[in-house]
Symmetry: D2
Subunit: 354 residues, 4 copies
């Protein structure tokens, strides 16, 4: 339930306000030199407090690797990534103990388990994705260095601001120049303003992240229930606040004719390519060598300052207006999470340490 | 790879033009009285040749249960559902043996396996979903009879024709009155015309199916990598031609503010409900007791009569215009497949025969 | 529950007196030329009626491959092996419908499922191993042809007759010369006499099968819960009537000193070998390149003609003396089953069709 | 690979001389009050330095629960059990860096991974079982308190000293009175002397542990590849130094006649029991309500002070005599490990937190 993958397996643990969050990465090949700076950079891109647009909870998110490493290299044994929780103000949450916040997982967790750690959302908090990113970053690094596969994500929409572009691949530097992680200065400015406005209104915004995976060779994936596209959907839908997933042309294909969106194969100087890429790099659940391109939809942050009506565990109506620390828009911080999940999926198919 | 589920497991086998297609359903509870007519009805809704809008391949799709059944009831042993292939004209496909058809899985399969059964798409054909529907229908029947859970799907879009409605639940009879499985006479008429036009143009159309699951109690699902929403996404993306999935408000939430789409809890005469259902019945990966509502996007059928350029396995350019039997739009026939996959997912969480 | 393996997966179905027994083999590599004669030979070594010492139930056990094969080669798709049941006299079992036979699975199945197919033992019958052998034989053939791994088993004990030998490897021909599958004429004669005596006494015998797998390279297996030795134990304990498993020196090591049974490494002309093989070819759960050697203990057949007291489902005492067809000793017929399970386990580690 | 179980899942990490060892227990039910004293007691029974007969490595083995617990109770979220390594003298192992010790996993790990953490055996060390025991103890406690299932193990053999008894169940107090964990004063004395003699001779001894699980209701287990007996075998063979497993009469049944060892059912005052228990409480892979009884065979400790010849990674012959800290006989310390593994297996079938 808390393990992702079959060959490369990430097992997650931890809660928002517990002692630690972390993950065990199992199945990772032996002999890989650990680049802790890459892992840390991905964690830094995810961590709270990184810009004026994010929550003020301040976690340094320094990761410790407690096993599976010897003399700077992996040994093939499971690797435990641990991040201690430091800046957790559990008292901020006391008044929420018995309240079912709108569009949070309070009620569904209560029904599922009969009990819950309400502090900061407990297990349902996006805090736990720090452990995912730690483990996934190492797989991402491995894919890049050993397989020349580049997993990259960026923001294409925040609220009603859309960034559309003919190009789909961007340098990480141009993405990270933008504090909303949109590789376009003009859209970035508008997105920042949109987030600032939402924040001022004590409201929140959602958005869309585009995922582009380049360098995956043709022939990766398995029919019929282990399709690469299905595994990507599963992984993305596992991320907090994600409500939609599409690959290639996605929903837009539903209103097109076959003749408009079929991807013809062409001989591109001895390589087989497709002229268009409405398939998003995957056909019949198996990669065709083109870029794998997906969109991941995030709903607006459920925690808002605007007063809302809801009920408590006694079914009594209560008014609620959030005062704790929270992000008006989580989408920029979710970029490394999307990359992590994609890397874990691709790694699960490509790497077999059996 | 060809098995779906953990507790209720469906293992699929077969190809378009092989001896048989089928599935083994494992983990199904003992003592359930088999209603073969329900299974057959779902198969009939999926089978080719059921209306003038579908392929002319004529398969009766009569299923045989070869194990796991004793005196009309399940025994807890695995159930083998077998459907013999009858009307397969393999010769129709000889000219395609070495051709990589646009947006089909020919090339990706060839890269994956080095070989492929090209006849009728082989393993990548939607023919194999007949086995899924046979096994899934029994789970669907079980969920309805033993858990009062109703899994229902219908068509909301074909090509540019959209059916929008405030109501989300429809009677199966009103859905099946329509040969495109849209529970609205006016939209049905427009959709039929759209398909007929596409067929006349030797072209194809895609569409969208809405899935509504009612009666799922609150508390079904598991964080963090076993979310009910993630499993639904995985299952739907496993269906041939599906390119997008969204739950509740889905992609439309990305442009909304939290205050607009948060689902407030209310006391509804002693039950907890939400005022709106932008969450689509799932919060934090766990059901909240509201209807589970998803949209599944299908691309247009890849096989079209319009002449297309592509390449063969020698990388030579070839012109291709399909003459075999195929559907101008598979979406109406996919309705029972969507239901099947949903039933298998819900059953996997709810039923534990351990 | 009815699937074995992670990479190479065998899913079993069928009952003793149902329509068919069979298996789906998933994950098998593409492009392997099918040698149906090898599969059939293994089935023939398992089938009833093969000698005067076995049950008189007569099944030809001809297997049909219904999927995953194209032009004589595997395609990478799941392969369905089907064997129809023919000579099943269900009426013979009517009087047993409500009786819990001693040391059979009647009572435990009834408690597990609330119902059971009593005919011929239903799902608990060794008849279902025919499907395992069909699928496993193909893996065994693959391991031999593509990896030069030889999986071989033979009988070392029936009742009180032991065959002990310094050599552990024998040619299959010398094993199959013996109708009890013991590669020694003298022991064979004594074993035959023991079985004939047991049969005359309306009684039954157990025995031990030795499994020798040669050619497995060093480095196969995974700590800590995926040890090759643990997987072999699991697979062997899955065979009907098996009650014990040991590897290398096994139980005898418990009374030895470390200095007596440690396996020293030696340089054998540039290869690393061990001087002795008390480890049975596996250390720390991983192969060390020496022969993998295991013993598998079978209890005597539970069905006997001798009158026994037991109870029925109303808890009433009943006297029972078997009159149906049964083997006085199943051990010789279990030899190909032991090989099958071993091949499936080794294949699961070695072959990765991911 | 480092995860055991399907419903109750234990994921293990850590090495002998790393920062920590630990485990994540996933799938554990919510709302269970944690009895840390029980967990600690099981850890104390396993820890080194507990008696004069064990290694002098001194680890307090205090466990920290870092997640999944709130206000003293489980929440249903994964529970991380962590034990820091303290008394690890890695320098003691420098001279072993390139040596393949006889009957250790040095060579097989080197072949498997190309590298290894040689310090104290690294990942292959029994040190990692501390994490298993921490997690497993909680399941054992749960089974006892919520299901009245008692998992108990004790030593029946060390070297050539056997303890045989008509009774199979003993109080934990009578087992723990004995520093070799044999519930018989006379046998205990002989076993202690045998271990002391082996220690004086710089040699080592193996032994046998009997496992008795009482209170398991009839009907637990699943055919055909998920047999309770097969899962127990797998779990026990996962323990370091285990080379054999048998259930009920085990290997001794192979030389018996059916009429001698069939377990007749009897009406025992309204309950169904068997007169004898040669089946060891499991028939057809499913419990029959009788005590589940198994024997687990341990080889002698591979590390001995006696000088041995072996080779190094350059294939050069070297003489080796262990000087580090080690146990002359690990069997007494393995008793809580056997209990842990049994509890995890039974819990995996019985508890379903789905």
């Amino acid at each position: 339930m808390n393990t992702l993958g079959k060959n490369i397996r990430l097992t997650s643990y931890g809660e928002s306000h517990g002692i630690a969050v972390g993950a065990i990465l199992d199945g990772f090949p032996a002999g890989f030199e650990i680049d802790q700076s890459f892992i840390q950079r991905q964690l830094d891109r995810r961590r709270p407090g990184q810009s004026a647009l994010t929550t003020t909870r301040n976690e340094s998110d320094i990761v410790t690797l407690q096993s599976g490493v010897f003399e700077g290299k992996t040994t093939g044994a499971p690797i435990h990534f641990q991040l201690l929780n430091k800046d957790s103000n559990s008292d901020d949450y006391d008044h929420l103990k018995n309240i079912y916040r709108p569009s949070h997982a309070d009620y569904s967790y209560a029904m599922r388990y009969g009990t819950r750690d309400h502090r900061g959302g407990g297990r349902s908090s996006a805090r736990v994705t720090a452990g995912w990113v730690a483990g996934g970053a190492m797989v991402q690094d491995f894919l890049f260095k050993n397989h020349q596969i580049n997993v990259s994500a960026y923001v294409t929409q925040i609220g009603s601001i859309h960034f559309e572009s003919y190009d789909e691949s961007f340098l990480r530097s141009s993405i990270d120049e933008s504090i909303v992680r949109c590789p376009n200065a003009d859209s970035t400015q508008k997105m920042i303003e949109a987030v600032q406005l939402a924040k001022a209104q004590k409201d929140s915004l959602g958005g869309v992240i585009k995922l582009v995976i380049s360098g995956v060779p043709a022939g990766i994936g398995n029919p019929v229930f282990d399709k690469l596209s299905a595994s990507l959907a599963h992984a993305m839908m596992s991320i907090n606040a994600v409500k939609g997933f599409e690959i290639g042309g996605g929903f837009s294909l539903s209103s097109k004719k076959g003749s408009e969106v079929n991807d013809s194969f062409v001989n591109d100087g001895g390589d087989i390519k497709t002229k268009s890429n409405f398939s998003g790099g995957i056909q019949g659940g198996i990669s065709n060598g083109m870029d794998i391109v997906c969109n991941v939809a995030f709903k607006p942050t459920s925690t808002i300052g605007v007063t809302q009506q809801t009920v408590d565990s006694e079914f009594q109506s209560v008014a609620l207006s959030a005062t704790g620390r929270h992000d008006p828009c989580v989408v920029p911080r979710a970029v490394p999470i999307v990359e992590t999940m994609a890397a874990l999926v691709i790694g699960d198919y490509l790497i077999n340490n059996c």
